[in-house]
């Protein structure tokens, strides 16, 4: 045993010496054998030859002898690596091309992986046994359509926690943007409102102090205690232990700091990580001063988490939640018998994935990201095809060298290992280049897909690094197999005969197939890019019922400054007047709600209609007389709001076109009576019909919307919209400063351009278009390089043939046609296959598009022509070189 180990150790460490000894030993043997033969009367030469023949392949014997050393694998590997490195150093251009190509492919994927992993796969940091933790979703069916919801009322959460049995933990959490600090230091910050049980889902002992306990998280109002996120503790308290016990004002309430969460702890968050954690009951009962949040079912603002007991199945969890949910709905119905409830059909609950984007409510963005990850994989495939092609070309060029090695007795397996070693080294280098590219690229991706302060650092993330290594190795093996496969079929004798010419040269089938494959994939991606760009343009061109670019939106945050309704209404009027005085402002109007910010709806009663609510959700806007002018919303018939529509005047309403059609189909809406809030209220008369506007979704907004004069409906709740000449973004600071002057006490105004509010709505199309365009052009470039390299290689191989042709009188035109024709043939097959594939895939991508058919002939045609043009360009360069072949030189070369 020991000798064996020592022997192997020596074999490893003193490899050189052992090799020399082996050489010497074999040489000695041959010499003695030769001498013996000479003694038996042969000539020296004949004896040497005979001895060698009897001995067999020296290299083979050496290999076998090395094998018994027991370190053959390590040995062969070091040798292969050295051999490969030498080869790669000798061909720097080739190496660079391969590394860069792989780098782009791997980089794109690593960067995408970072994003996708974060959104969909990675479980939150510190979470204990993530497989057992679920987010709870509630399903209801309304008007035949089932929809999922994860907004919980506190009461509902308490019901489900109390009436379920298969969970060992239930927790609730919400996130709010609240103002902290006082005076000049005041700023808005992300605050998580969580139940005390929330922290017990994690294995995350506090970095300092403690988390809050169940006794500090109680109805009706919890204790004013706060746990800091690690980062916030560092930036605001310099990581000092003295932070414990200090006071921190959140909104209007003074909290006491009791602990600090460990570094990297963000709980479970879908947006920006929270800076503070406060008890959910403290937020509801103290900050929001709600008296009934834990008894009624009207304020849904939380999400629910559960952890299954180890022996409970997923199905049991869902069943348990569903029965508790039905019981909770019954309790809700029993609570309020007076208002007729419309029945919630088929209610059920689901113990869903912890990652929101994998759940039933995944956003359009998440679906786009999934597509784009697929796209980046295709880019990688194209890159691999390119590299395989380059390796093949290289293998063809090295035919004689390889044949020689085989003749010398190098086994096929060993040869394969050498080729694979080379490609794996290349892939490793490619992987490193890819990491560098991913590091840069992921910053861009982050800004497109992830919340602003999410951390994404490729180089320090083990999962991304692991993914990168995996992709690189796979790419290395795949690209290495192609030439190995090819050389496995080489005819030794043919390759070895010096000067053997490839007469009627033959392009390998594998290389042609790779080329067509690249073209096909590039076409598919380009079609995708075209579709997304068109969708984005269509979305942008959409009439949303109001102007975006010249509009500034303003909302006031009272923040502790207590005003009476009368004072608040007065403040709103003053703000409106003040805004009008700002140079460059065309008009200003108070507004009850802001599009894509908040919506307002109240019960409506119309004679002859049983339940208006059943017809859809009608949202309400309140405005000043200048409202429609400020927004740019057109009045189609009747009138808008006027200065005469005051508190005492007859109540009037302007309805949207959709609303008019829904409530009074076939009849004139103007002059109709609607009772707002209760059927005992006096008539509100419809005096105008406005165009439909979109306030909740750019594409599937029902547009059921109506307007009341703000003076007749809650003037104290007014926000402000301002229309400026030119671009709203240029006015934000001016408007903010002018209006801030009007704000009393601690109150402040928040000012945004309408474009900023609308922007996120377009984001999925924007990111889809950006990423598809970026990746498809990457694919196109890679495919073009692939075509170019194959054609150029062909031309080099056919120099002799071309020389003959030119000598026989072929014109420049003929040569060009010959070479470029080949390029076009490849591209044409690729285009046909690619368009076919794109048509087939169109069905799946349609739901993500807008206003453009997945089979749009213009896009398909444009992509087809683009690829052909690129193919002509890529093959024209080597073709031109071919025309310059000098027949004299070419024919005399051998």
């Amino acid at each position: 045993m020991l000798t064996d180990l020592l022997y192997r150790l020596r074999a490893l460490l003193r490899r050189g010496a052992m090799e020399r000894e082996l050489d010497e030993e074999l040489r000695f043997h041959l010499e003695r054998e030769t001498e013996k033969l000479v003694r038996s009367g042969r000539s020296r030469d004949a004896a040497a030859r005979e001895a060698r023949l009897a001995f067999g392949g020296v290299e083979r014997i050496k290999d076998d002898s090395r094998d018994v050393r027991g370190v053959a694998v390590v040995d062969a590997m070091t040798q292969d690596v050295r051999y490969a490195l030498r080869g790669l150093r000798a061909k720097l251009g080739f190496t660079a091309a391969v590394v860069l190509t792989l780098g782009l492919g791997i980089g794109a994927n690593a960067a995408m992986f970072g994003v996708v992993d974060r959104l969909m796969f990675r479980s939150p940091a510190y979470l204990h046994d993530p497989a057992r933790v679920h987010r709870v979703y509630l399903y209801t069916t309304s008007r035949g359509k089932e929809s999922a919801d994860n907004g919980f009322e506190y009461t509902r959460y308490a019901d489900l926690a109390r009436w379920t049995t298969v969970f060992d933990r239930a927790a609730t959490f919400g996130q709010r943007t609240l103002a902290i600090g006082t005076g000049e230091d005041a700023r808005e910050i992300e605050v998580a409102t969580v139940s005390a049980s929330y922290f017990s889902l994690f294995d995350a002992p506090p970095a300092l102090g403690r988390y809050f306990t169940a006794s500090e998280d109680v109805v009706p109002a919890g204790a004013p205690v706060v746990v800091l996120a690690y980062g916030f503790w560092q930036t605001h308290y310099g990581g000092s232990a003295a932070a414990l016990g200090r006071a921190l004002q959140i909104d209007r309430t003074t909290f006491t700091i009791i602990g600090v969460a460990p570094d990297g702890f963000a709980g479970i968050t879908d947006g920006a990580p929270p800076a503070l954690f406060i008890p959910v009951t403290t937020f509801a009962g103290v900050v929001r001063e709600s008296k009934d949040y834990y008894t009624k079912y009207s304020w849904g603002w939380l999400q629910m988490l559960v952890r299954r007991k180890p022996d409970a199945t997923l199905a049991a969890a869902t069943a348990d939640l569903t029965s508790a949910y039905r019981r909770s709905l019954a309790a809700e119905a029993a609570l309020d018998k007076t208002t007729p409830r419309f029945d919630i059909a088929k209610p059920h609950a689901l113990a869903g994935p912890i990652q929101f984007q994998r759940g039933p409510m995944a956003s359009r963005d998440a679906r786009i990201i999934t597509w784009i990850s697929g796209v980046s994989l295709i880019v990688l495939l194209i890159a691999c095809a390119n590299v395989a092609n380059l390796m093949l070309a290289r293998a063809l060029r090295r035919r004689r060298e390889i044949a020689l090695r085989v003749a010398l007795g190098v086994g096929r397996a060993r040869l394969l290992a050498q080729l694979l070693t080379e490609s794996v080294i290349l892939a490793t280098l490619g992987g490193i280049a890819g990491l560098a590219i991913a590091q840069g690229g992921s910053q861009i991706l982050k800004s497109i897909f992830l919340p602003a302060d999410a951390s994404l650092n490729v180089a320090t993330d083990w999962r991304t690094l692991g993914f990168c290594a995996f992709v690189a190795l796979t790419a290395g093996v795949v690209t290495g197999l192609a030439p190995a496969f090819q050389s496995g079929r080489e005819n030794l004798a043919l390759s070895l005969k010096a000067g053997q010419r490839e007469g009627t040269h033959q392009r390998s089938r594998l290389r042609s197939a790779l080329l067509v494959f690249q073209g096909t994939l590039a076409v598919v991606l380009l079609v995708g890019a075209g579709l997304f760009v068109r969708s984005l343009r269509n979305v942008r061109a959409l009439r949303i019922g109001y102007d975006v670019d010249p509009v500034v939106v303003v909302y006031g945050e009272a923040r502790g400054t207590v005003l009476t309704d009368l004072e608040r209404a007065g403040l709103a009027r003053r703000l409106e007047a003040r805004a009008l005085g700002i140079p460059g402002v065309e008009s200003a109007s108070r507004a009850l709600t802001l599009p894509f910010w908040d919506t307002w709806s109240v019960s409506l009663f119309v004679a002859g209609i049983d339940s208006v609510r059943r017809l859809g959700r009608f949202t309400l806007q309140g405005g000043s007389p200048s409202f429609f002018r400020t927004m740019g919303t057109r009045i189609l018939r009747g009138r808008g709001i006027t200065a005469e529509d005051t508190k005492g005047a007859p109540k009037v309403m302007i309805v949207s076109e959709s609303m008019a059609r829904t409530l009074w189909p076939g009849r004139d809406a103007i002059g109709q009576c609607i009772r707002v809030q209760a059927d005992t209220m006096p008539c509100t008369t419809v005096v105008g019909i406005a165009e439909n506007i979109k306030t909740r979704s750019l594409i599937d907004d029902t547009g059921l919307h109506y307007y009341l004069p703000i003076e007749q409906y809650q003037p104290e709740r007014a926000n402000l919209i301002v229309r400026v000449r030119g671009n709203a973004t240029d006015y934000i600071e001016t408007v903010r400063r002018a209006l801030q002057a009007e704000m009393p006490g601690n109150a402040y105004v928040v000012v945004h351009a309408m474009r900023e509010v609308i922007g996120p709505q377009e984001r999925s199309w924007q990111s889809g278009a950006t990423m598809f365009v970026a990746f498809s052009f990457l694919a196109l470039i890679l495919a073009a390089i692939g075509l170019y390299s194959v054609i150029a290689f062909d031309v080099a191989q056919r120099t002799h043939e071309l020389g003959v042709r030119i000598a026989l009188g072929a014109q420049v035109r003929d040569v060009l046609r010959l070479i470029v024709g080949a390029g076009i043939r490849f591209a044409a097959v690729g285009v046909i296959a690619g368009l076919g594939l794109a048509l087939a895939a169109g069905r799946f991508i349609s739901p993500l598009l807008f206003g453009v058919s997945a089979r749009d002939p213009v896009i398909l045609g444009a992509v087809g022509s683009l690829l052909l043009v690129v193919a002509v360009a890529a093959s024209a360069i080597p073709a031109l070189r071919a025309t310059r072949v000098d027949p004299n030189v070419a024919l005399r070369a051998d």
Partner: protein, 108 residues
Amino acid sequence: MDRLDLPQGTLDLLILKAVSLRPEHGWAISERIHQVSRATLQIPQGSLYPALHRLERRGWIKATWGASENNRRAKYYELTRAGRKQLEAETDAWQRLTSAVSLVLDMA
């Protein structure tokens, strides 16, 4: 007389035996077996050295460099103590096998 192919596994035994009297180098081992077997056994040249190295790794023979009969450096292999035990065991096993096979073949 025709040459015989070596039955599987006997090469090691022959090598051990060949170096049991005194240290020998590879070529001499092969020559010796050839001669002693009256030219019946020819060690396949390709297997000799791998076999020598395998035995060395197992610790049954050990190698030293010395001067050959014509005064050149050669690698001599000699039997180790473990090798001698192995040789005895294998010789014994071989003899029992062959006599058993003979008994069967001599069956009337």
